[in-house]
Subunit: 338 residues, 2 copies
Amino acid sequence: MATLSDVARRAGVSPATASRVINGSSKPVTEELRERVLRAVAELQYVPNAHAQLLARSHRGAVGVIVHDVSDPYFSEITRGLQRVATDQGRLLMICNSYRDPERELEYVELLRGQQVAAIVLAGSGYHDADFTRLLNGKLAAYEATGGRVAVIGRHEHSGDAVMPDNRGGGELLGQELCRLGHEHIGVVAGPRVLTTTTDRLTGLRAALAEHGRELPEHRIRYADFDRDGGAEATAALLDAEPGLTAIAALNDSMAIGALALLRARAVPVPQQVSVFGFDDMPMARDVTPALTTIRLPLVEMGARAMALALDPGAASPRVESLAADLIRRDSSGPAPR
Amino acid sequence: MATLSDVARRAGVSPATASRVINGSSKPVTEELRERVLRAVAELQYVPNAHAQLLARSHRGAVGVIVHDVSDPYFSEITRGLQRVATDQGRLLMICNSYRDPERELEYVELLRGQQVAAIVLAGSGYHDADFTRLLNGKLAAYEATGGRVAVIGRHEHSGDAVMPDNRGGGELLGQELCRLGHEHIGVVAGPRVLTTTTDRLTGLRAALAEHGRELPEHRIRYADFDRDGGAEATAALLDAEPGLTAIAALNDSMAIGALALLRARAVPVPQQVSVFGFDDMPMARDVTPALTTIRLPLVEMGARAMALALDPGAASPRVESLAADLIRRDSSGPAPR
DNA sequence: ATCTGGCAGGAAAGCGCTTACCTGATCGTT
DNA sequence: AACGATCAGGTAAGCGCTTTCCTGCCAGAT
């Protein structure tokens, strides 16, 4: 691997001059030397060692992102927003998948800290786990203490800058719609209990139902993995226990799609016999059949805002941006059959 | 940010000892000193500077991956395979999105080279562009010359290790199925012409049709973006020009899903009036309605194999692993109406 | 009591860059 | 004509770590 000294030697200049030419320093260099250096660079196919540069500059370049899983559309969308803003500012993004493992999340914070990233964005639900939360906050605080910036998406537990989708409000919207359509026998297909996203959405849903004098008994809720298969599984269990359900409210779109698949397999007409509701409005929601009624969260926007917060050294006081949820009516929901 | 010297000072030892304790060197250190160092690490929340480590070790840690777009399910799946193998070997993955811009692809090769990655995996279609290919191969060669490893997925233009999905064979499978079902009026919804994936699949399709004495006139092919919207757009154009089509063959699943969406919007019954075929078999294909008939490519497997090649210094001679395509019959296709 | 080996720990030389500071030449000033 | 200002370019000191090599100590052997 050619080094800067190699280039300098070949061009017959000092490493300092070579460096100045290569990354356009403010110091002027004669046209002639500049050309010699550039020629040497081309001939040697020289590429600067990024680690050496970062070390020398002690410059924080990249930005770290920790998500549950980029291949999950929910996070793909958020990531798209993060990317856009980061790229606009000429920042490299390092994406880390925690696969919903708190342990791994902790490790990644360390790793990113070691990489000297300028900021860390934590996306995705937090956990109901006080020990973990304390540990994580400790690590983040240590990072921030040395000038690192942190922004989170959808986590109450962190005290700094945050973008908060209105999960509770979305749950309420969902509950209101269920009541409006006259559903009484409602099954809820939920993500893991330990995720705050699950409980927030559930809380909103419960509140709205209560307002209309309806209850949501615990046995009507099934907790499963926050993905398609988890959705199918939970729906099956729900239906087996109570065949008379008229609505399935899934707490994210992936699960809702699993629910639709299961209902289709069992030849249950949607929405004539059972209505299905999702949450998030990921792109795929419009392409399933029937197209999914869901609570939209502005995912790309969330990502973009979070990155903007993370990169803007701005206010000392933590900034929290709340983003509202919307009900999107499509074909998978209808009035309760009577 | 605490440094190793800070730790050493606090523990009352030399930096050398501190370093040895922290990353478990083979050199033995007394239990007492070890404890002092670990305590200092904890107290200072010390995290080693990864750049400095890499520089000092001149150790190549991470692996670089260049894909068109991770949020595209095709690449998500491949990436999942890449991840798995890389993680198993304790390697960090750096994922770069080229967004189908050859220019950016070139830049990323440089960037990864600068990051001293141990290997670069290039996934996604190549381009019909001799200049670009030459440039890229030059850069890759320079990288390989300094000990870097390169593996590509689905690109003929590179001469080194490669995993090749059988795009042409898949196209043939598609053509045979079309003939078997008796379709005569076939529209093709294709990706950009410059992508070799597009032309490979097309070539296979053409060959199979020709074998059955059928032709595929150029005006029955529409080229558009390789995504959902491109698919919808191309399908619309095709249908407007020739209302009598009985089959739409999309060259990837995203486009096929766009086609389905458009057909639904126009109330064209699928597959009764028009059959729709996809390509890739991304997870979503089974969840659209009607479920998509498609040519399956073992995407995760492709990723895993490519990473295995990239990380195995092995053979000097380039290894090429070919992976077969399969026809998956689902509900979006049926016999041609008469 | 002296010598050798072995062994824990430290000193210091880099890894490949950047950049503050210095040098020597060139120019303009009085 | 002599002096300082100006400027291109070079010198060298780090950035934070790893690792080789060396030092000084002690146990065991003679």
